[in-house]
Symmetry: C2
Subunit: 229 residues, 2 copies
DNA sequence: TGTTTAAGTCAACACTCGTTTACTCATGTA
DNA sequence: TACATGAGTAAACGAGTGTTGACTTAAACA
């Protein structure tokens, strides 16, 4: 609350009028994220709460968003940018399969820690809540999965796999990562050793999945799912 | 809505007074589940909505629950009973590793289809929403995971594993199952072929995990996580 | 300098909300 | 048959909600 008001004060020192507008808009987004840090879900978040937190009058909200849902969509965009930065960093990683896992988990943990609110928002709204947000989030994550499937297909020991099977294993890994992220968020910020534990388990789980991959050829079901395109 | 009122009417035909009370209570639980079928989350569900759906006056709610949260906890109990039935059935399954997967996924799909509302409620409230519900749900699922870990430890090719590692792989499988259940719920009820697709992918994912298991011995990290009594 | 623009204010509106109190009146019991 | 119980009713309360229109006032511009 106090922090918000300071944000607001800083916004007032802006020079151009457009700049000030952008800053208030940002304060609204931040206020919503802060309010979500308490147990509440986004759909039970009121316009008046948000404006109260920022320190403007309810009617002022409409200068920035048509309604709370539109603010939610803006939050999805903002959070997804954070996610994209993380993924870009994770992709600039060596190819050897063991350190790739360790480094990916480490990257995930670092970004979750640095952007708790964004990750919390995404992980909550992707399951329940408002339909529009959920669909947007799922579409984004789906596209991450496809990118990962593409990456996997470039690995030498996977370049014979069908697109559908690559998608299958990619989604298994992305899902695992999403759940790991959720567990990392549950860890209290001041207990790094608990975080370490979660990370070790996560590494083991991803390693287990990757160990299954070379065994696949001998086992898969007869029916072939053909790659398209 | 109409359905609810019919429920109410049926309740009126009950004989004993206790019976009637039980039926109205059940109608309240059903009304909440129905309302959740629309996009809303439980925490944005009002006492008045629920009683309106059932066809009683708001004050009548207090004859059955102290507040909406208590109704939520009752819903968790009810849903968990459903889950337990499913798991009991899944455990009465042969040991061979390939049909065990196929049968487990098939069992899951059947129960999700037959108890959509319970599964939807659980999968939503386990991530976001009210703290009390989330904790209760997570504790239950945690206990399912531990049971599965115990089962796994009885398998001949796994009986040398540490308790921690069994827990690790069990949670990987349970998590995969939870996400599969969520995807099964997204499938429109009238498109069985889409459901088939999800099930095939799910089977492949679980198979992939199980293929990694025999490879584990040669690979795990040096540090041993000891099993506790 | 005077005029336009638009972020934020103010006050009111018609709601819905949870909760309370006193009540009715069908049911189960003595 | 008379009485006690308790599920559901009726009405009101104070508080919080989204949305409105007319307003101020500082910045942008000609």
């Amino acid at each position: 609350m106090l922090t918000r008001h300071r944000d607001r004060a800083r916004a007032r020192t802006g020079h151009a009028r457009d700049t000030r507008k952008v800053q208030t808009r940002q304060a609204l987004l931040n206020a919503a994220l802060d309010l979500l840090e308490g147990g509440k879900s986004f759909s039970s978040l009121s316009l008046r709460e948000i404006t109260r937190e920022v320190g403007i009058v309810p009617a002022g909200f409409y200068r920035h968003f048509r309604d709370v849902e539109e603010l939610g969509l803006a939050l999805v965009d903002e959070s997804m940018t954070t996610l994209r930065h993380m993924i870009r960093e994770a992709r600039e990683t060596p190819l050897d399969p063991e350190p790739i896992i360790r480094r990916s988990v480490e990257t995930l943990a670092r970004h979750v820690h640095a952007n708790r609110r964004h990750f919390r928002f995404i992980s909550r709204e992707m399951h329940g809540g408002m339909l529009a947000l959920r669909e947007r989030i799922r579409r984004e994550i789906q596209s991450f999965t496809s990118e990962l499937a593409l990456d996997l297909g470039r690995l030498p020991w996977l370049n014979q796999w069908s697109a559908a099977d690559l998608q299958m294993i990619a989604s298994l890994m992305v899902n695992a990562m999403v759940l790991i992220a959720e567990e990392l968020m549950e860890v209290p910020a001041d207990r790094p050793e608990a975080q370490e534990t979660v990370m070790r388990i996560a590494e083991k789980q991803l390693l287990l999945i990757s160990l299954g991959v070379p065994q696949w050829r001998s086992a898969p079901a007869p029916a072939g799912t053909a790659a398209s395109g």
